[in-house]
Structures are given as structure tokens and as C-alpha cells.
Symmetry: C2
């Protein structure tokens, strides 16, 4: 191969999460061989997203406005604040149509092994919002992983210290699942949290 | 999410081979959150590769010249032509330093299920080269998959019809492997092809 531009493309694709050198090669060959139009579209999409996508100054999600669509909606219940890890988690909750409060999107979780503590995650900004006089309940909807649980724990502590009601979304058996195939930790939690 | 540019980026990333909607979301969030510089570099790399990478007019590999580095090397043995499926396969053979002939890069293989026959693969161009008066041996180094074997079969037939010597790279036990862990078809072939 005597095409430095091809080598540079493979190198740049390797920076994508979950893409190693073999996948990057396969992607570059595929795009250049079969999808020249897709190559140009992806280049433009990257530039446009880089130019226009910013964080909402209120809830920290990705948006192209200073304040996102959800935060500027006057119909939203400002007394409830749901904390999630990613915009995808927020979108999943929105699709349920079961929540009309506001959100805060952490864009990550506390992960000491990766050097992400409360400060790197920018938790001060969220905790400052606990004092805005509008929020009454903080709903912790971080993932049920070790990192998500640690993040929820820190935030619950901060919220309760400020006299707010801090709740965690329920752990339990997923709808449609059969008990014998559910992991034991989930069944144990479902038994303890029975109502 | 109220950022059309973000949705467009996720859509464009989904066009990459092996990338579904979840991976595309994860890639977009990661790039915009943690690697803005990588976002710009990838956009530029895509545009530059699209603008400068073409197929070598002689061997069909990716290059930024009309004739690639390997084909224009006067030291190469023009009597040997090694046929491979991808530039990555060519690079693997080059790294062995055991071959000083020329190449032809198919950029794929015959795959009737995907609608890729000898014509779609452009085999006429390769077969025309069999008549150039320089090639004496065609070395078939396509993969040992059903598609690679079919491609090799078609090319061997065409080469022999033109009085050329057509050889297939050897099948057998990989160096460093233990017999009990090698699949039975490989062992059977290694027995038959013993020398």
C-alpha cells in the first residue's frame, strides 16, 4: 500500500471506541471500495456535529441550543430532577412517556479506576442545582453497575444533606422474563424490595 | 435530544461495516464528549482519502498514484503474479519478505449469494493481464473460504487455458500449532498434500 491518506484514515478510525486495527482496515476498505458517498456524508456529519453540538447549560445533555428542548419546555414539572448517565438513557426514559419532570445528564459515571471522580464528572454543577429552590425530588436513574451505583450513592447523600427527597429507580425482575432465567442477585433484590 | 447534527452523525456512523445503532451512539457520544480533536481528524482523513485514494491501474490495489509503488518497482519479478483478495492480504505477504513478484488485488471474491460474479469482480481485467507475455506463473492466494476457493478455481482455469502455470498457496498445519487442536479438514488436507 502506497497511500498515506489510506493509512491516516485507518489510524483515525482506530480512535473510535471498540475499533481495533483489523476493524479499522475493514471499515476503510469498505468505505473506499463500496461507499464513497457514505465516506463524504460521514466526514460532513462529523464536522457539522463538532461545530454545532454543545452541552445544554442547564441539564448538560447534547444539544445545538444553549438550553435544550426539554429544559426550555414550560410544561415540564420542575420539582422533579432525574439524573441519568447518557443522552441514550434519557431518550429511553422519554420513550416510556411515564415521566414529565426534568433531567440532568452526567455524560459518564464515577469510575476511580479510570480517574473519574466526582470533580472530573462535574458533580458540583448538578449539586449546585439541588439548591435552586425548585427541585424537591432527585430521581437517581444511573445504571445498576458498580460505577452507576457509586454515582447514585454520592448524589443521594448530597441531595439528602440539602433536605431533598432522593429516590432510586426500582431494581427487580424485567417485564416478560421468567424467574428461572433471571440472575440470583436480581431475584434477591426483588424479594427484599417487594411491595 | 434536540440536536439534528448528532442524529445525522449517528446515522452516518451506522453505515460503517459492523456498526449497529448502539455502537454508533456510543461512538458519537464518545467522540463529542472526549475526543473533539479526533472528530476533526477523522473528518479530514475521510475527505482526504476520498479525494486522493484511487485504484492502481495495473494491480487494482488502493494507491494515490496512477500506478502503485509495487507495480512501478523495476526490481520486481514480472513473471510471477500473486492474486489476493484485499490490500491487507497483500501487506501480510509483503511482511514475510518471501515474495518478490507482482500482485493483483481483487478487492473482494466471487460470491453468488451477494450477487458478485466474475464480471462484477472485474476478472476480465485480471485475465487480460494473463496475455501480457510477461506473466508465467499465477499464484492464487485468495482465502481458504468457500468464496476464496471458488475465485481461485475460476482463475486457475482461465490461467491454464492460456498456457500459464497456476499454483495455489499451500494448505496445511499452521506453524507453532499442536495437531490435536487443528480442525480435521486441515489435517486431512495436510495428509493428502504431504511432501
Amino acid at each position: 500500500m502506497s497511500a498515506p491518506a489510506l493509512d491516516a484514515l485507518i489510524e483515525a478510525l482506530r480512535k473510535l471506541p471498540g475499533v481495533g486495527v483489523k476493524s479499522a482496515q475493514r471499515m476503510a476498505y469498505h468505505m473506499l471500495q463500496h461507499d464513497r458517498q457514505g465516506t463524504v456524508l460521514l466526514a460532513r456529519a462529523l464536522e457539522e456535529a463538532n461545530a454545532s453540538v454543545v452541552h445544554c447549560t442547564v441539564c448538560n445533555t447534547f444539544t445545538d441550543q444553549p438550553v435544550c428542548h426539554t429544559c426550555s419546555d414550560p410544561q415540564r414539572d420542575k420539582s422533579r430532577l432525574c439524573v441519568v448517565e447518557t443522552p441514550a438513557d434519557q431518550a429511553a426514559i422519554e420513550r416510556t412517556l411515564s415521566y414529565r419532570g426534568l433531567y440532568y445528564v452526567l455524560m459518564g459515571h464515577i469510575s476511580p479506576l479510570d480517574g473519574v471522580g466526582p470533580k472530573a464528572l462535574g458533580l458540583e454543577r448538578l449539586i449546585a442545582r439541588f439548591d435552586d429552590g425548585l427541585v424537591g425530588e432527585v430521581i437517581l436513574a444511573t445504571n445498576f453497575t458498580a460505577e452507576g451505583e457509586a454515582t447514585a450513592h454520592v448524589l443521594a447523600h448530597a441531595a439528602r444533606n440539602r433536605g431533598l427527597n432522593a429516590t432510586r429507580i426500582a431494581r427487580g425482575i424485567p417485564i416478560g422474563s421468567e424467574l428461572e432465567y433471571v440472575d440470583l442477585a436480581t431475584i434477591a433484590h426483588a424479594m427484599v424490595d417487594r411491595r
